[in-house]
């Protein structure tokens, strides 16, 4: 199969000169197109750090991250920003959206940066809002949306650039169980219908149950990698 993401001997050491912390320690991880992977492990096991390295938000201490065969750890900061825009979707734990823009504008905005025409943008915004079930909230600002609705807009925004994969660091941590289930259903649907690749970290057993591959980290090392 086709590996979208490959990490080789990936390590990140924080504070190497004072109190070194091996947040990620020699990780070799391969993610194939269309996977729906949960990254789990105790607090401080390195989930966030690993996602940041894969997403090109941080540079590793050693090792590399290849996305479609391209080593992103060698890219300059500005190149990485453009690379992220074109190839990676992000959903963060909370407050993902720009507060002064409406739901629709938050999504459209990404396509503005990609220099899409007004027509293309409008069409895709409508499509994406429908996919996350928020057509009627297009003109609402983030403060007028529930936490779950905000996260759904964030997923729609992450999809706007038609990325290669979406990284989500504890996307449901701030949600109640109903919103959690709803968000997971939408992500699963996008994964199955559109073959969108997702990697998300979580502590929530109900979320882990929905994943089809579970990678467990402890002290920065992969201790198990199972498919279900």
């Amino acid at each position: 199969m086709n590996n979208i993401i490959e990490t080789h001997n990936l390590s990140k050491i924080y504070n190497p000169d004072t109190v070194p912390v091996n947040a990620v320690n020699g990780v070799d991880l391969h993610i194939e197109e269309g996977e729906f992977t949960a990254l789990v492990g105790p607090s401080g096991s390195g989930k966030t750090t690993l996602l940041n390295l894969i997403g090109g938000l941080d540079y590793p201490t050693t090792g590399d991250v290849k996305i479609d065969g391209v080593d992103i750890t060698k890219m300059s900061e500005n190149k990485l920003i453009d690379f992220r825009l074109h190839n990676i979707g992000f959903v963060f734990q909370a407050y993902n959206l720009i507060p002064v823009l409406t739901a629709a504008e938050n999504i459209e905005f990404v396509m503005m940066m990609l220099k899409k025409t007004k027509q293309e943008r409008d069409l895709r915004v409508r499509e994406l809002l429908a996919e996350v079930g928020l057509t009627d909230k297009s003109k609402n600002r983030p403060t007028e949306l529930s936490g779950g609705q905000q996260q759904r807009v964030a997923v729609a925004r992450a999809l706007a650039s038609k990325p290669r994969f979406i990284l989500a660091d504890e996307p449901t941590a701030n949600l109640d169980s109903k919103s959690t289930a709803n968000l997971l259903d939408i992500m699963a649907k996008l994964n199955i219908e559109d073959k969108m690749t997702f990697i998300f970290s979580t502590h929530d057993q109900r979320v882990i149950d929905k994943a089809r591959r579970i990678v467990t980290l402890v002290d920065g090392k992969i201790v198990s990698d199972t498919k279900q």
Binding site: N52, D58, I81, D82, F90, Y95, I98, L101, E105, V110
Partner: protein
């Protein structure tokens, strides 16, 4: 969209934005008022002085300025008249035949600056007839004299009394004459009010035996800033004609120096005012950067170039400054206009000071629009310079750290 983003961000913290805008608003108003008042005072001082003496530009015989001898005069010249009449920037010009003479009433004697004038042209230059407080204005053929009020008072002379003039005429001739007083004028400049007298040109020429000669031509301009370039043009057109052309700045440098000094002080005062604005704007920038760190982190993470982000933030600051400045300019305008139409007449100490510097104690603001525009530029430049800090900060942002803040 970027503009929309900046505009909405600006109104995100409504109260802070309003405070910033109103601090800019008031500072701009004060800065404009200070500036137009100072310039207005000098406009008055300069125009009072030059209109009654040398004009903004004066043409005289080569060497006359350094040695004001009646022998250093020049003859009427139709070519020169044509040049002057063809210059659009000249609002009026008038020939002068000036000489220091002694004026006597028999009892009292005093040195005066006697000027032979073309009554019509002189009036266009100095509005002399408007300054009459008694009698009537001169006409071409008159053999009578106008005295300044202070001089008449000193000589204890009234209207229709006769004044005796004694002086030195052309090429060593003795000059002496008796002239009835046709009018008395009051001059705003106290020094002048004490020692000036006017005769019609022909009569003055007879008195000084000069024939058809002038000592100088005084030229007025629409805007005193045009004096320099106009002088250059006149010099070019009169080369080889034995004339010197001088501007008011060259003839009365004290006024210009004083003006520059006052403007310097004005700049310092405005500078302090703008420093206050600068701190206000800077505070706003700091708070804004702090509050929005998380959002900036997200934006950079999802692929917004830092340059675009910085542009949006700078746009916000610049828009805020433009709004404040615009309202400031609009707000200052009616105030300035009011004082333009109703000049402030000052008494007391200020009047004494103004007497020393030879002008009427009136404050009438200058309404040149450039004064308003300059303040706008200054505020804009401040906002842009301070925004550099925001640009610098944004370029140092690390996405993850910002998201976690």
């Amino acid at each position: 969209m970027y503009f929309k983003l900046a505009w909405r961000n600006m109104w995100r913290s409504r109260r802070r934005t309003l405070i910033t805008i109103s601090s800019i608003f008031f500072a701009v108003i004060f800065a404009i008022l200070m500036r137009v008042m100072v310039i207005g005072v000098f406009d008055k001082m300069i125009s009072d002085t030059v209109s009654m003496s040398c004009g903004y530009i004066q043409i005289h015989h080569t060497g006359y300025w350094d040695n004001k001898s009646i022998d250093s005069t020049f003859e009427e010249n139709p070519k020169l008249t044509t040049i002057l009449n063809n210059e659009k920037d000249i609002s009026a010009w008038a020939p002068h035949l000036e000489s220091f003479s002694l004026a006597s009433s028999g009892e009292q004697t005093r040195g005066v600056l006697l000027t032979g004038i073309n009554p019509t042209k002189e009036n266009e230059v100095s509005n002399l007839s408007k300054k009459l407080i008694a009698g009537t204005y001169l006409a071409d053929g008159d053999k009578s004299i106008l005295l300044a009020e202070g001089l008449a008072h000193y000589l204890k002379l009234k209207l229709s009394d006769t004044v005796i003039l004694i002086g030195q005429g052309y090429e060593g001739n003795m000059a002496a004459g008796k002239y009835p007083i046709k009018g008395i004028v009051r001059l705003g400049v106290p020094e002048m009010n004490k020692g000036m007298a006017w005769l019609p040109l022909a009569c003055c020429r007879d008195f000084l035996s000069t024939g058809k000669r002038y000592t100088s031509i005084a030229i007025m301009v629409n805007n005193r800033n045009e004096a320099g370039p106009l002088k250059d043009r006149i010099v070019k057109q009169t080369t080889g004609m034995c004339y010197d052309v001088m501007t008011w700045e060259e003839m009365i440098p004290e006024i210009n120096q004083f003006f520059q000094l006052k403007m310097g002080q004005n700049v310092i005062m405005s500078g302090i005012l703008y420093l206050v604005i600068a701190f206000g704007i800077f505070g706003t920038i700091l708070m804004m950067l702090n509050e929005r760190m998380h959002e900036f982190g997200i934006l950079i993470a999802i692929g917004m170039r830092k340059g675009i982000l910085a542009t949006i933030v700078v746009m916000e600051m610049v828009m805020m400054s433009i709004v404040g400045t615009l309202f400031g300019i609009i707000g200052a305008f009616p105030i300035v206009l009011y004082f333009r139409l109703h000049p402030i007449h000052l008494g007391g100490d200020y009047a004494k000071v103004s007497e020393q510097f030879n002008f009427e104690p009136i404050i009438q603001p200058n309404i040149d629009f450039s004064n308003f525009i300059i303040q706008g530029y200054v505020v804009l430049v401040i906002a842009i310079v301070l925004s550099l800090y925001a640009i610098f900060k944004i370029h140092k942002i690390k996405a993850i750290a910002a998201i976690n803040s």
